[in-house]
């Protein structure tokens, strides 16, 4: 066991040579800086100045749906085609491609849920220098300037956003290689100057008719990083474009980075990098690329929130530069650089944060509505050793009266890292095990990674090989790399046929030992290749006609897509899937949950879990969590408890631990800590109806579940940089304790005129203040917004399924006017019937004029529920003389109540009404 595992680890060290280091921190030298990435270095060497592109207005064509115009590169005379679309919902799409590329350039498929519907564009004015287009509204305009080429989006006299205003549009056209001799990749310091000089000369000669012969630069046709050569048969193909955002000081998004919520200035350092990578022991506060990439950036100021969606799946770098623009107006400049593909950018014009979320989700879809149980607590470890171990851990939760819904098995459960199989010795009867869990209404997740052991006796491998579904190396053979099983092939998930086949492997008769309570975890899908460049795949590997270079950031997206599809299919399309992924791209929210990868048991990582998940939420991926306790290293009992307390209030709530760390099930740290963890987990379970409602909304509207404060308080500048606290939906504000031996935290309670109630003490606080909160080990500072109604289920049971029919307790938190509103959503918790058969309950709860009533928000839907209302707590209330209940049939009855004058909480005893019907409670 241990020595085998050790060998695996040693093997990992050896194979990766310097990939692992004993120093317990990321080895930066394994990953490229911009300087070490030829195209980034080339592009970044280009400085702002006058653009060499001219829009040839005589080529302008305007159709109902879009406008096209050619762009001329004055230096090399290459023509580009610009396409402009006005999209429904206040968005503009700008596409730039070569007019006549010598071969097609990659355009990202499958990420947009539909061809975005367009709206009519009309020309308001035109002369030889510019064209002014109407974007609708009263005074929304788009100005296309010809020489130099730039685009400005205006509202009235104000520029909202400019494109190419710094002249950084650069589009390396595909070209025929001039010589067959390979260029050597050399250091470029000296040659950059030559390049610039060369460029200047070109500008001065710009009037000449003949195109300048372009000189090849190092790294254009071949590039070497460490020992890995990247042959570039297609030569240079990178693209770059700049955007200026006048009046903007705060920009967010472009995950995944282990960095604060607000993006930093990248001047003088590396740009933020988007390139899905398996980074061992990643560092905090760093623009280095991590496991996933969503090329979406949000800008925000007190007047307006906007978004930029750069639809490109190749390696991408993003420079952010904030400072004073002209006339001392703050300005943020953003520049995107990608290695290949085309420029395809969606400008989402807001103006409110929720508008941007709506706009973005209209393009890439919303968060998949997860099974209710997946919002509960997950217990994971690398690894639960065998069936007996699983059963002992399961039993441990019952003995210590801690609820959980899912137990997870990492790679060791398989037969030699052959996914879809079980280790016969350790898991001889997987169905018995799953049945045991099912009997307790619990579930399991097994890992299924996309690297497939090359082994002729392994059915999955032989099938993929014989069907030709593997990714090919540059020479046309099956690409092979090293990962957990040793030598492995990587299925080409970009191939829809392959995805279909993969999905079919999750059928109960294909995945032996699987049952309906078994779900899936896709790890290592960046893809991770231990002996590949930057621990990932060679860019010259081939996915059909496309290079891996073109699709890299999409690979993990497709893996999760195919897996989720498999889970849907195995139930005949009835059951909602649950799939966790480590790698992701724009649109991944449609397929399940994401976690922040291999973090560490350190206070800094606990803190970082908040901005990392907030950033993901802003770009559509709401179902986010970090490994509770930290993956690498061993948490102190205090850190573990604090992490449970924070994790209980983050969307995906799973404890996980590295193989080398001691066991850390919640009851192993003494009765006091067990009690603290139990309490944190129980708080999660009581709030499951609220979480479920938030995900219902997220699915419908694309609003993030876990939100930065500025999303709800967009005019309160004090909220713009806060990333140590957050909102769940609109109504719960959480400020987890993330410092060691903390005796207090200062939480900012936003909103002038808003009131906030401490959910534990019901103490009332006014908004727009920094509140000092003394804390003990049991404290989890959480506040409910005055004006909201939150439904909880206070009967916490062994698993969320056991709580299905339990009654609700309503927490009605009155605002300063004595009103409150909330919603309740109920369905079966796991099927698609809410969608297909309209089987659900969605009701509004509203407290106004001393009456609390429940009314139907979706009269055409139906769902029978046994749940009822057992208690109503009205926070900030006054003592009534009497309380009466008016039921659906009009019958009236009196309701007992208690009033606590110290806390101003009025508790109504057992209204007893069914949760799915109309009723009113009157306070007199």
């Amino acid at each position: 066991m241990a020595s085998f595992i050790e060998r695996m680890c040693l093997y990992r060290v050896l194979v990766l040579s310097v990939f692992l280091s004993i120093t317990q921190a990321v080895d930066r030298s394994n990953f490229k800086t911009c300087d070490q990435s030829a195209f980034c270095s080339r592009q970044r060497a280009m400085k702002p100045g006058q653009s060499s592109y001219t829009a040839l207005l005589e080529t302008l064509e305007l159709s109902d749906s879009h406008l096209t115009v050619q762009l001329l590169n004055n230096n090399n005379k290459v023509l580009l085609l610009l396409e402009l679309y006005r999209l429904q919902g206040n968005m503009t799409r700008v596409k730039i491609n070569e007019l006549k590329p010598i071969k097609p350039r990659y355009e990202v498929p499958d990420v947009l849920i539909t061809d975005p519907p367009t709206e009519l564009m009309s020309v308001l004015a035109q002369d030889e220098h510019r064209v002014v287009l109407s974007l609708g509204g009263e005074d929304w305009r788009l100005i296309l300037s010809a020489q130099p080429f730039r685009l400005d989006i205006m509202e009235g006299p104000q520029v909202l956003l400019s494109l190419n205003s710094r002249g950084l549009l650069a589009f390396e056209q595909l070209r025929i290689r001039k010589d067959t001799k390979s260029q050597t990749d050399t250091e470029e310091a000296g040659e950059k100057e030559d390049t610039e000089k060369h460029d200047k000369e070109k500008v001065s000669e710009g009037e000449e008719e003949e195109a300048e012969e372009e000189v090849d630069q190092p790294g254009m046709w071949e590039e070497t990083f460490k020992t890995h050569a990247d042959t570039k048969p297609n030569g240079p193909s990178s693209i770059s474009l700049d955007f200026s955002l006048p009046g903007v000081e705060h920009v967010y998004g472009i995950p995944e980075h282990a960095d604060g919520l607000k993006l930093k200035n990248t001047d003088g350092g590396d740009p933020y990098r988007l390139y899905n990578l398996d980074v061992f022991q990643y560092e905090l506060f760093n623009p280095m690329a991590l496991y996933g990439a969503v090329p979406v950036l949000l800008s925000h100021n007190t007047h307006r929130t906007m978004g930029l969606f750069w639809l490109n799946a190749a390696e991408t770098w993003v420079d952010v530069s904030s400072g004073q623009g002209s006339s001392e107006v703050p300005q943020t400049d953003v520049r995107w650089i990608s290695e290949s593909g085309i420029i395809d950018v969606f400008i989402m014009l807001g103006p409110r944060p929720n508008d941007v979320f709506t706009q973005y989700s209209s393009l890439t879809g919303t968060q998949a509505f997860p099974p209710l149980s997946s919002l509960a607590y997950h217990q994971c470890r690398w690894n639960y050793n065998d069936q007996e171990d699983v059963s002992a851990v399961d039993q441990g939760f019952d003995e210590h009266d801690i609820p959980y819904d899912f137990i997870w098995l990492d790679i060791e459960h398989t037969d030699g890292k052959r996914y879809f199989t079980w280790d016969n010795n350790k898991f001889p009867q997987p169905k018995d095990m799953l049945q045991g869990l099912l009997d307790k209404r619990r579930k399991m997740v097994t890992i299924v990674d996309p690297h497939i052991k090359v082994d002729s006796s392994y059915k999955i491998h032989t099938e993929i090989r014989s069907r030709g579904y593997y990714i090919k190396n540059k020479d046309g053979g099956d690409y092979e790399g090293w990962c957990w099983p040793g030598n492995a092939g990587y299925p080409d998930f970009t191939n829809p046929e392959m995805r279909k086949w993969w999905a079919s492997m999750f059928a109960y008769d294909q995945y032996e030992g699987s049952m309906e309570n078994l779900y899936t975890w896709n790890d290592m899908n960046e893809p991770s290749v231990f002996n590949g460049p930057e621990v990932t795949m060679h860019k010259d590997a081939l996915h059909g006609p496309w290079e891996h270079r073109d699709i890299h950031n999409l690979y993990g997206f497709y893996v999760q897509m195919a897996t989720a599809e498999g889970q849907i299919q195995r139930s005949g399309g009835l059951e909602r899937p649950f799939v966790l992924t480590r790698a992701f791209f724009a649109g991944s929210q449609r397929y399940g949950a994401v976690w922040t990868g291999d973090n560490a048991a350190e206070w800094g990582h606990l803190k970082m879990s908040i901005p990392m998940c907030l950033s993901l939420g802003l770009v559509g991926i709401s179902f986010c969590g970090a490994d509770v306790g930290g993956f690498f290293k061993t948490p102190s009992a205090e850190l573990l408890v604090r992490w449970y307390q924070a994790g209980a209030y983050q969307p995906f709530f799973r404890a996980h631990a590295h193989l080398d760390t001691p066991r850390r099930e919640p009851w192993l740290f003494g009765p006091d800590n067990t009690a603290l963890i139990r309490e944190a987990v129980r708080q999660r379970y009581t709030l499951l109806p609220y979480w479920y409602l938030q995900f219902y909304h997220a699915q419908r509207t694309g609003q993030p579940v876990m939100r930065p404060l500025w999303v709800e308080y967009p005019e309160d500048i004090a909220t713009f940089s806060i990333d140590n606290e957050f909102l769940i939906g609109r109504d719960l504000l959480v400020h987890p304790v993330t410092d060691e031996r903390s005796s207090g935290v200062t939480a900012y309670l936003p909103g002038n005129g808003e009131v906030w109630y401490d959910v534990h003490t019901f103490q009332r606080h006014d908004g727009a203040q920094n509140l000092s909160i003394p804390v003990t080990m049991s404290s989890i500072p959480v506040f409910q917004r005055g004006g909201s109604i939150i439904c909880r289920k206070n009967r916490v049971r062994r698993s969320s399924s056991c709580m299905e029919n339990d009654p609700y307790t309503l927490y009605v938190a009155l605002d300063s006017q004595g009103n409150a509103e909330g919603e309740i959503y109920i369905d079966d918790g796991h099927t698609f019937k809410h969608k297909t058969d309209k089987q659900f309950i969605h009701r509004r709860l509203s407290f106004t004029a001393n009456s609390l009533s429940s009314s139907d928000l979706s009269p055409d839907s139906q769902f029978p529920t046994a749940s009822w209302v057992e208690q109503v707590n009205i926070l900030g209330a006054q003592k009534p003389d009497a309380v009466t209940l008016t039921a659906t049939d009009g019958g009236e009855s009196s309701v007992e109540f208690e009033f606590d004058p110290d806390t101003a909480v009025l508790t109504l005893r057992k209204p007893g009404v069914n949760a799915g019907v109309n009723w009113t409670l009157h306070l007199r």
């Binding site: 050790e6 040693l10 171990d389 062994r798 005893r909």
Partner: protein, 470 residues
């Protein structure tokens, strides 16, 4: 996670069937007989903690009124409540209220799922029968096991006595050898003095005769030179000693470097007499590189000359050899005594019942590994390729204070990659045979074994019966 040891599965000895008289006509769900008195039907109900008075019809009305949960013994309404499974025919027990009507059968009499869709069967009678049969079987087996235990304890007593006797014998031999040693040391000193005196005399005579300053006649044997150089009398010559006592022939003021000294000792840092004769002694005899400080010439050629001296030297050598032999014997006995004392100092349990495990090893094959436990010594893991890894050396008993002998800790095994050293916790469980039952590795490099042995069986102290109750 290792602090609670069960004393075996033997606490249920006899099934005691309790018959109670039906005292109450109104069934209050979820309470035990002893709590019935709190739930006598009146107008009102006082929460058992005395905190609140509520109308009696709010008892078990599926709404939690009492902080202590006492008003809802039969529903899931109170977070702190508990439900009493009467389990007629089997063992009654409490479950948390949250398990009432949760769709999972907890009470064998199915009483916890009175309002759920999950059909629960009353399995108490079967369980009771099975358990009673088991208990009977176990009672029988336990008798046998306790008998075996007694035998092993007796065996332990005998072994203990044997070892004590062995220790006494060894002690006697040791004392004896000590006396011999004293005599032989004196004898050796005397012989050496005699031989030295003869040499001195001879040298004196020769020096008178031949006043050569470079006289090569030195009446010394390898043993005496060895002893002379061996300043700390530890039976070996070290580099330090060479550096202290010897110098180069050409320059007596100059000290030998460590490397030079090592070279003289034939590349070793320490030599015994026989190695000395092969190495340094040869150098000293040729006399062209080093010499003993403050002395001229080459030692050791004189004895050949004079038969008297030769005889005296040989007698001295013999005395030395005799001494050496007895010293060796003494050393051996001394080590044996030390080992035995160490063994006897181990805690073998209150009745030395675990003594018999000493000198035994137990093996178990788990997947591709063979695990071996040698109690009070060590734990190892052997892989299919034959590689042996130490999983820990005997550390201490590690059970809870009330039952320390139910766990053994073996620690400081081979270090783990990037981690601490391997260690093993051995749980002792009651069984007929003494054998290794299981090996697990719950966390990396932390092993848990189960060693089954009759010695860990305990007579049933309490009789917790399977009983019936109304």
């Amino acid at each position: 996670m290792f602090t609670n040891c069960s004393l075996g599965h033997c606490h249920i000895i006899v099934a005691v069937v309790l018959w109670s008289i039906c005292v109450d006509s109104r069934k209050i769900r979820g309470i035990s007989l002893s709590y019935k008195r709190f739930y006598r039907e009146r107008k009102s109900f006082l929460c058992i903690d005395g905190s609140k008075m509520i109308p009696f019809d709010q008892v078990n009305d599926d709404y939690c009124d009492c902080m202590d949960g006492s008003d809802e013994p039969g529903t899931a309404a109170c977070p702190t409540g508990r439900f009493y499974c009467t389990n007629l025919g089997y063992r009654s027990h409490y479950i948390p209220s949250s398990r009432v009507n949760d769709g999972i059968c907890d009470c064998c009499d199915a009483s916890d799922e009175y309002r759920s869709q999950t059909p629960c069967q009353n399995t108490c009678r079967n369980l009771g029968q099975r358990e009673r049969a088991e208990v009977e079987g176990q009672t029988r087996v336990l008798g046998e096991r306790l008998r075996l235990k007694q035998l092993l304890i007796e065996e332990g007593v005998l072994t203990w006595r044997e070892k004590q006797a062995q220790l006494r014998d060894l002690q006697r031999v040791s004392d004896d050898l000590q006396t011999q040693l004293d005599d032989l040391r004196k004898e050796e000193a005397r012989r050496k003095e005699e031989a030295d005196a003869l040499r001195e005399r001879e040298i004196g005579a020769r020096e008178t005769a031949d006043n050569s300053p470079t006289s090569h006649y030195r009446p010394e044997s390898p043993i005496s030179v060895f002893k002379e150089l061996d300043s700390n009398r530890d039976g070996s010559i070290t580099v330090d000693e060479v550096q202290a006592k010897l110098s180069p022939v050409q320059d007596e003021e100059h000290a030998l470097s460590e490397d030079e000294a090592v070279a003289l000792l034939g590349g070793a840092h320490r030599v015994d007499l026989s190695r000395f004769e092969e190495t340094l002694w040869t150098s000293l005899r040729t006399g062209d590189s080093v010499t003993i400080k403050g002395r001229r010439g080459v030692p050791g050629s004189l004895a050949d000359e004079d038969p008297n001296i030769k005889a005296a030297v040989s007698a001295a050598e013999k005395a030395s050899a005799d001494l050496k032999r007895v010293e060796d014997a003494y050393e051996t006995v001394y080590m044996e005594i030390r080992d035995l004392r160490e063994k006897l100092s181990i805690d073998y349990g209150s009745e030395r019942e675990f003594l018999f495990l000493h000198d035994q090893c137990f093996q178990l094959k788990v997947y591709e590994y063979i695990y071996e436990l040698c109690p009070f010594s060590q734990v190892t893991q052997k892989s299919a390729s034959g590689e042996v890894v130490s999983l820990g050396k005997w550390g201490s008993w590690a059970g809870p204070p009330e039952n320390p002998y139910c766990q053994m800790r073996y620690e400081s095994g081979e270090p783990c990659w990037q981690g601490p050293t391997r260690n093993t916790m051995v749980m002792l469980i009651c069984g007929t045979e003494t054998a290794l039952r299981s090996v697990k590795e719950p966390s990396k490099c932390q092993y848990v074994m189960e060693l089954q042995t009759p010695v860990s069986c305990q007579p049933a102290l309490r009789q917790r019966g399977v009983h019936s109750e109304l």
